[in-house]
């Protein structure tokens, strides 16, 4: 299995099919992410399209860091959802920038969204972590809160939080079969 980081690096290096593979690999997870939060298949499909368009635009600048690429994708998804809630409509900036045509979605598609959406493979994996690691990973990777703030809340040192995040992510990578 090709590593996510390698797929994104290949795309940045000129292989368009690498991004398609990245899309195919994570479509269900992103659908699940949105369906779980919105309960609305139509909105889920719409947001998912925007997230992958935004990911395509950002992928060229993606640099592997401490978190899995899926967390990077979830970060984009979380912000698209937040933007859309605040504005009362789904943003389409990335799709417009890519000149993507509007997509038709019918009732069969909507039913399919619910059928194929993964209710949160990554999130479920997070829940299997020891509580301290789980809380640290969620606070840092999903909420994007600063280490100092998390340390303050957990009443421990920043170094310890970093350690918990690092170990948690390492465990997640192992679970998600992302060799590193």
């Amino acid at each position: 299995m090709v590593h996510d980081d390698d797929l994104l690096a290949s795309f940045a290096g000129g292989d368009p099919e690498a991004f398609v593979a990245f899309y195919q690999r994570h479509l269900r997870a992103v659908l699940g992410f949105f369906l779980r939060r919105t309960g609305d298949p139509e909105l889920t499909a719409d947001l998912t399209a925007e997230v992958f368009a935004a990911a395509l635009l950002a992928a060229e600048r993606y640099r592997p860091r401490e978190q899995p690429a899926l967390a990077w994708l979830y970060g984009i998804a979380a912000h698209k959802l937040a933007d859309s809630r605040r504005r009362g409509r789904v943003e389409d900036a990335a799709r417009r920038r890519l000149a993507l045509e509007p997509l038709a979605i019918d009732d069969a598609d909507l039913a399919r969204v619910e059928e194929i959406a993964d209710p949160g493979a990554a999130e479920a994996a997070v829940l299997t972590l020891p509580p301290a690691q789980r809380d640290a990973v969620l606070a840092r990777v999903v909420d994007e809160r600063p280490y100092a703030e998390i340390a303050d809340e957990m009443q421990c040192s920043e170094l310890l939080v970093r350690q918990r995040v690092s170990r948690g992510l390492r465990a997640l990578r192992a679970q998600m079969k992302e060799p590193r």
């Binding site: 399209a49 950002a58 060229e60 389409d92 038709a104 600063p146």
Partner: protein
Amino acid sequence: MTSFFQDLEEQLREAAHERTSSARAPVTPPAPRRRRWLAGGVRLLPVAAAIAVTLAVVAGALVLLGHRGGHAPVKPATHAPGTDMATIVRTTSPSQLKREFALMGAAARKVQASPVCHVAETAPVIIRTPPGHALLSTLGLLRRPATPADRLPAHALDMAGSGVSIYAGAARRALLGGQLATFIVPIRQSPKAGFPSDRCFALQVAAVKRALPSMPAKLRAPTWALANAFVAYDRSLAGHAPIDGICEITILSHNGRSSGCGMTVSQIRAGTLPEEDNGTFSGLVPDGVASVTLRFAASAGHAPRTATVRVHDNGYRVHVAGLPLTRASFPTVTWRDASGKVLRTYSEPPMANPSSLKQLCAKHPAACVPAVLASAGTTVHASGTTRVAPSPAKGGG
């Protein structure tokens, strides 16, 4: 996978090929995008809404329209020639509007795809003059001297969109919080940039006229009236004067950034819903607001929560732990001045009853039209996804 996902994959593949091939090309002009007939009014919703009504009201209308079952048709419509768009949408049932839009869209599809209807995506333009008084007098943050920390990261405004001009040197960094930095960037939005040429509109109207004989007899006249009204509506939006607003750009910790452009002075003054990101709420407030209280109602096993945060640089950011993950509603927001006096309390508009839509349309046609268009089924959502079939009524997102 079904057609939506196949289509999405195919579009992404095509876009990925274009991106990778253009990356190898020495110079590539911005890609033109094809303009869809119905996208204009909805895409420019922020501009239209800024003129007529606050974002909160529009959001409420869209939520309401998610429940289209509750929107009773007033009467079978036979729009007279020259009927304006607001009247048409106010007096036509959603199902009939949907059929008319479908006929109109089918008739004009070829023209929409032709080069004459391409709308070039342009890069933001830099303005050397300072932002207007209305904006500067609303956000003290923008009046303070610039510092090196206010310098925008490279490519921060890549996704600002067409028709956006940026006031050079006027961006200010706000809402400092750990590794997250939010920049408030004054902009000027020109509605005209998002619309195709007059010739494109004329050709689409002509195409609808040619297709009239093949349409069901009962729908010919109203579809013809709708086509003309829609063009007039789009042109009226394009004719609005440029208006000052802001872009909020948050630099994320994973190489990315989140940006939202288009919030206007009137929206900031009226109070916008906070941005929510996994329990962290942030927002922008006008001068004079010293603290913000967010009050969350009790829901499904979760006790009510209240969080108060001091305002810094016209912004606030607070994490509220323990909220339900799938919470659908936003908190009630209360602004207070430095003495603790309540300046304003507002919340997400409640799920309205059908009469609210009528009131909205009666008072604010500019907000009513895109809201009804969004409910008409065949229209293009602001997001660019087209619905082609009805589904059970749901609340909006």
